[in-house]
Symmetry: C2
Subunit: 205 residues, 2 copies
DNA sequence: CTCTTGATGTTTACAGTGTCTACATTATAC
DNA sequence: GTATAATGTAGACACTGTAAACATCAAGAG
């Protein structure tokens, strides 16, 4: 840690690589990211990363996991803050969009050619499923339970709402048009959508 | 065209490159696509593509345009077939999903790091906007007009419906879970969603 | 019909990349 | 302290995008 010149061993290279790599992807974009740049950014030779990752793909996966973790923590904070209130769904949707607006490269990085697994029907072990989705699903289900929403339809509601927010985020982060005030728009959209799924739950939201 | 051995000039290289390249991307995926493979697939030297495209990026753009054209034609057929019927929106949604399910690599290829422009608020010249979106928007607006839907809300409805379909497609083509019968699911989702936006239009749909 | 010219394709070259192998240095355990 | 495993380095290879110099062809002008 100190200024000792004998930093032959980095001792934290794995994490450093992940974080520096995310920085590079954020600033230069995925296409121009390379293992060698990452190594150089960590002040290490170009083959050093191979002591910590089998190949480039595995580093990319680790980066995606790291981002997903931060994203999950953010959503957990929102849940903790708004749990039980009528604005929980809206706040989660807003956070979803906000996260990817603040980090414009993350959306395509996370959701394309990644090995992130989103099992919408949750047939795989919960731990292996995409955590943001599980968090979202749990929140929605608990609301649906409160209002005794038909059990066999609950999953479709969850998937539909998620698809909607996901689609909005995709469009807003991709289209070259910046919504002057996207928060308002997203809020409007969610307000517009909720009654469709939650007809008999208006009071609860 | 004939078997003449003097095919020094390919004479249709530009199109051949686009189509072969799309084949390569379809079968091997975007990451393993290279200019040199494309050239080889056309039986031409590795620098030949530079007579038709400034760089790799421009070839990729041409490929995206080509796919978008085919997609647009498909949507136009759907519109011609179902225009004025109550199932137009549903059929367009199904076609949207179907197109990307049949070509699993296309979704991320078209919608990430492409220079496709989708101006949701349509402030750019119509010709420059993403044609599938314009087709979809025109169809929806005409339905909304028929039922005298409030003019100032029409655009939000269009964007919301599009985001929903787009989000579903993104999830269905990305998540590792194959819906056993996704058509039914998508139909259900659309049925579930429409009333939210089109409360006073039920008859027209 | 020849000759010029522009369009198209080839060859060669170079820097950057992912990845492997052999080697060097260090930390750790006995 | 020394063996051993963990970690970093150096060099090599094949492949990539791209550029420059050269080759071949098509088409029109005289």
């Amino acid at each position: 840690m100190q200024d000792k010149k004998k930093d032959y061993h980095h001792k934290n290279l794995r994490n450093a690589l992940i974080e520096k790599s995310i920085e590079i992807v954020s600033s230069e974009g995925v296409p121009s990211f390379s293992l060698r740049k990452a190594a150089a950014a960590c002040g290490v030779s170009h083959a050093a990363p191979y002591r910590h990752f089998q190949n480039k793909e595995q580093l990319l996966s680790a980066m995606q996991e790291h981002i997903t973790d931060r994203f999950s923590i953010l959503l957990e904070e929102i849940i903790k803050k708004y749990e039980g209130t009528p604005v929980l769904l809206k706040q989660m949707g807003l956070s979803y969009v906000a996260f990817f607006i603040e980090n414009p490269t993350y959306f395509s990085f996370l959701y394309t050619q990644s090995d992130i697994v989103i099992d919408l029907q949750c047939q795989i072990p919960e731990k292996e499923n995409y955590r943001p989705y599980m968090l979202y699903k749990t929140a929605v289900i608990s609301i649906l339970e409160q209002v005794h929403y038909p059990l066999e339809k609950q999953n479709d509601v969850v998937i539909s709402l998620w698809a909607f927010i996901h689609g909005i985020t995709s469009l807003v982060t991709m289209s070259n048009v910046r919504y002057e005030n996207w928060e308002q728009k997203v809020t409007d959209f969610i307000d517009m959508l909720q009654p469709a799924f939650l007809k008999n739950t208006e009071g609860a939201l």
